[in-house]
């Protein structure tokens, strides 16, 4: 099964019904599948930090959510993470990585190199999937930790999993 289908399957198993996102090429298929799914409300954000608050509101209302972004979005979330940290809102994050593998665009490298340490410093538990067969079980683990332990929990999806963007060069 494609790795993104494993994420969708784990979302369904965990009763995730709001998926908030800022698009990334690596998340394209998953986002399209979430939009098409009648049981999932897909929420397009203008900036990733909105998603932290959207999912907190969803949890107040009894609905589980997940937040999709690329590594550059991690930096946009830092202060909003304090909402989830202070109130212990479950916050599962799925981060497609840039700047770590066959990266054409050097502007992606600072956040790509630092996203994991920024997340850790903010209090987010992180794990990294480097091969497709890791994604399903690691998605389940990420969701379990978030919802069972009221944690901020991130799965970093290594750039080797996503298409190489060459800018036609």
């Amino acid at each position: 099964m494609d790795w993104w289908k494993q994420i969708l399957s784990a979302f369904k198993d965990a009763d995730v019904r709001q998926v908030a996102y800022v698009p990334d090429a690596g998340h394209t298929s998953l986002i399209e599948a979430c939009i098409a799914d009648n049981d999932i409300r897909a929420v397009a954000l203008t900036t990733e930090e909105e998603g932290v608050a959207v999912l907190a509101g969803a949890w107040l209302g009894g609905v589980r959510g997940a937040l999709l972004m690329q590594s550059s979005g991690v930096g946009n979330c830092i202060n909003m993470f304090t909402l989830a940290a202070t109130c212990r809102f479950p916050l599962p994050l799925f981060v497609t990585m840039r700047g770590q593998w066959q990266e054409f665009n050097p502007w992606q490298k600072p956040m790509g190199q630092s996203a994991n340490s920024y997340l850790t410093t903010a209090g987010v538990q992180t794990r990294t999937a480097e091969s497709p067969e890791d994604v399903g079980p690691m998605t389940t683990a990420t969701l379990d930790r978030a919802f069972a332990d009221s944690e901020m929990s991130a799965l970093l999806l290594h750039q080797r999993l996503v298409p190489v963007k060459t800018f036609d060069k």
Binding site: Q18, L45, T46, E50, V54, G57, W59, L60, N79
Partner: protein
């Protein structure tokens, strides 16, 4: 003495306005942005279905959106300040795209950063938050400056199919703190218990 600014003499007073929006025994789901609006909703009566924020500036409206989508049969009211609204204006586009009919947002706009020394915000100059929301596609938008306009707006704030947004121009004034609980886990759990039942908090 600092120079007089126009919002020093606006007729509407925030603590009076909040009691009109949140009368006793209402069943609204209420999110308040950090600072003055958190104290305002508490002055109208602290209740389990209030979620007053103490931080996460810019998060009140998107939090209300997530709640409104999760609870489509309940009216969700977000009450926040002009500074908090300015920090996350993109969320009007996000709210508009989702179009929750049960979401009503009010900005108490005193044109100041109240918690940090009453410095002027951008709405004291040329920024029109109602115009921003309208341009983002929020279908019902209003500006309230007087008691008469508040009377006319209240049924829309509380009942009209939304999303609804109102800028309520209020007097810039330093008021007593009326502090809600600040333990975020407590605020979250009491809200979920009141809304979803005791099993929602394990």
């Amino acid at each position: 003495m600092p120079e007089e600014r126009r919002s020093d003499s606006y007729p509407l007073r925030r603590r009076d306005v909040v009691k009109r929006i949140l009368p006793a025994n209402n069943d609204l789901l209420v999110i308040a942005g950090l600072g003055s609006t958190a104290w305002d909703i508490t002055s109208a009566g602290d209740r389990d279905l209030n979620f007053p924020m103490w931080g996460a500036m810019g998060g009140a409206i998107p939090m209300g959106l997530g709640l409104a989508l999760a609870q489509p049969k309940r009216r969700v009211v977000v009450i926040t300040g002009d500074g908090e609204t300015l920090m996350g204006m993109g969320c009007f586009a996000t709210v508009s795209m989702q179009g929750p009919r049960n979401l009503s947002i009010c900005t108490f706009d005193n044109e100041r950063y109240g918690e940090t020394g009453m410095q002027s915000t951008h709405t004291s100059a040329n920024t029109d938050l109602a115009g921003v929301a309208a341009a983002c596609g929020i279908p019902i938008v209003g500006v309230v400056r007087t008691e008469e306009e508040l009377n006319a707006a209240l049924p829309i704030i509380l009942e009209a199919p939304g999303p609804v947004y109102h800028v309520i121009k209020v007097r810039a004034e330093k008021l007593d703190f009326v502090l809600p609980p600040k333990d975020g886990v407590h605020l979250k759990n009491r809200f979920r218990r009141a809304l979803l039942g005791k099993d929602a908090v394990l």
